[in-house]
């Protein structure tokens, strides 16, 4: 199951593990990604916390935790190849995984269709 936040993060849930990244819409808006700061394993994040920072040639942007949980793993491939975020924002360019502490938070996030409608409205 994949859900999306209004701040352009995606969450893929398998059991109680969530994989989190930024959406393809977000990577296009950022442009060439040159640096990603990821949370350390073991870090506890509450929904809405600043979880990561993504820097493009032009500017730095915060990535927020779309759900609460404890970080289990960060995508270390992004340290040496931050442009993976441009090439595959919603696949190889994932940011981190966490163990969900409140799975009910997922209900309030958008599904794929709702997110597509949301970004279509932003572009109007």
């Amino acid at each position: 199951m994949r859900k999306f936040s209004k701040s352009h993060e995606w969450v893929e849930v398998a059991g109680d593990v969530a994989t989190i990244g930024i959406t393809d819409y977000a990577q296009k808006a950022l442009g060439d990604v040159v640096f990603v700061e990821l949370p350390a394993a073991g870090k506890s994040l509450s929904q809405g916390d600043e979880a990561a920072v993504v820097e493009s040639v032009k500017a730095a942007s915060e990535v927020y935790a779309p759900v609460s949980g404890s970080v289990t793993e960060a995508n270390s491939a992004l340290e040496d190849a931050p442009d993976t975020v441009n090439a595959g924002a919603e696949s190889d360019g994932w940011f981190f995984k966490l163990t969900l502490s409140d799975p009910s938070q997922l209900d309030a996030l958008m599904d794929g269709d709702a997110y597509a409608a949301y970004v279509a409205e932003l572009d109007d």
């Binding site: 442009g31 493009s56 032009k58 500017a59």
Partner: protein, 383 residues
């Protein structure tokens, strides 16, 4: 996109059709990048050539018998040595030695002066120059109906020559009045990327046609303001409002080459008292280049720290360098920390990251200077 109140350049429709991401820059809707992205546009400019729309910049003409005297009264330029068809970089200055704007001054064939001003400063500059015209036999006029198209990169001359004959014979900082499809245009061999290249002042109605004619050559690409910014940063060129402003002097900014020799001797330019004292005794801070370790770019405002962690300055421009594939920056530091090679640190979101003072430009400028052209001709003639 909420951009309806922004001004548009004559190339606006072409930018949108070419997939540009448009942003507000100095009140204009401008392309920050096209589909390929800033890094690709940057590298294409260094390898071949790119078209930049810089029509948002102010283009003005100062005419009249007192034109030189008027412009000298508000700048540090010595215009007595500026010959027709030549361009000079100069600074509009305040009485405290601060920089009101940096500008290009071209001597036209009829003796009048053509100016290119920063978009964000053009109305302030115009007011200042118009005020200096009062009581003098000179008048300044902003060209509202002209576009400015830059073609920058090592292939620029070869691409432009078939469209604008004789431009390949020009040297860096030459200006040539010529004709494009029946309209008068002014070609200047200069730019803001560190590469060889041209800026063409063209009637607004012909801007799209000229751009299309350039882009018909496959060696030419499109580049936006994002690439323009990373290109100029690599080559140590200042961005007004960031690296220079009304509080920075030419000495602090490392721009003393812009002060005419005669003006230095006479100490008669605005702010001369303070600037000459700084030239003779040194100043408290200096603009420097920085090589940042790691991958994280330092941004404007980041504190520059001494090795022991004391704040000794601040970053004024910082980005990722596509050419060097690493973060680079420029900023001001206390004079005792300004020597090349010195190990400093930059505060990146609370983390002190090692940085080294680097001689600017960190990527060499590749202008087509007259001296190099003459040497080439002599070599060819001797064979």
């Amino acid at each position: 996109m909420g951009q309806t109140d922004l001004k548009r350049t004559p190339l606006y429709d072409q930018h949108v059709a070419n997939g540009a991401k448009m942003v507000d820059f100095a009140g204009y809707a401008m392309p920050v990048q096209y589909g390929d992205g800033i890094i690709a546009e940057h590298l294409h400019t260094r390898a071949s050539a790119s078209v930049f729309d810089v029509s948002h910049m102010g283009q003005a003409v100062l005419r009249g018998p007192d034109a030189d005297a008027v412009l000298e009264s508000v700048t540090c330029a010595d215009l007595s040595t500026l010959k027709p068809g030549r361009i000079r970089y100069s600074l509009l200055m305040n009485e405290n030695g601060g920089i009101i704007d940096d500008l290009m001054i071209t001597r036209l064939q009829d003796g009048s002066l053509s100016l290119v001003l920063n978009a964000s400063r053009k109305y302030i500059d115009m007011q200042m120059i118009a005020a200096a015209c009062v009581g003098k036999d000179a008048a300044i006029k902003l060209l509202e109906d002209a576009a400015l198209i830059a073609l920058q990169g090592p292939r620029a001359g070869a691409i432009l020559e078939p469209l604008l004959p004789h431009c390949a014979d020009m040297a860096f900082m030459d200006a040539l009045p010529t004709v494009f499809e029946g309209d008068a245009v002014l070609v200047s061999r200069c730019g803001y990327t560190g590469e060889d290249g041209f800026e063409v002042s063209v009637p607004a109605a012909k801007a799209a046609a000229l751009t299309k004619a350039i882009l018909a050559n496959e060696e030419a690409g499109l580049a936006g303001l994002g690439a323009r910014d990373s290109l100029r940063l690599e080559c140590g060129l200042c961005l007004y409002g960031h690296d220079i402003d009304e509080t920075t002097t030419p000495v602090e900014a490392g721009l003393t080459f812009a002060i005419g020799k005669r003006r230095k001797m006479a100490r008669d330019f605005p702010g001369a008292q303070r600037v000459m004292r700084q030239l003779e005794d040194g100043c408290d801070r200096m603009r420097v280049g920085l090589m940042i370790e790691g991958r994280r770019p330092a941004r404007e405002g980041a504190a520059i720290l001494s090795p022991d962690g004391t704040k000794v300055g601040a970053v004024t421009s910082g980005s990722y360098s596509p050419t060097l594939e690493r973060p680079i920056a420029m900023g001001y530091v206390a004079r005792e920390y300004s020597q090349d090679g010195l190990a400093l640190q930059v505060d990146l979101r609370g983390k002190a990251v090692p940085a080294q003072v680097a001689p600017m430009p960190v990527v060499p400028q590749r202008y087509r200077r007259r001296s190099a052209m003459i040497a080439e001709q002599q070599k060819a003639g001797g064979q």
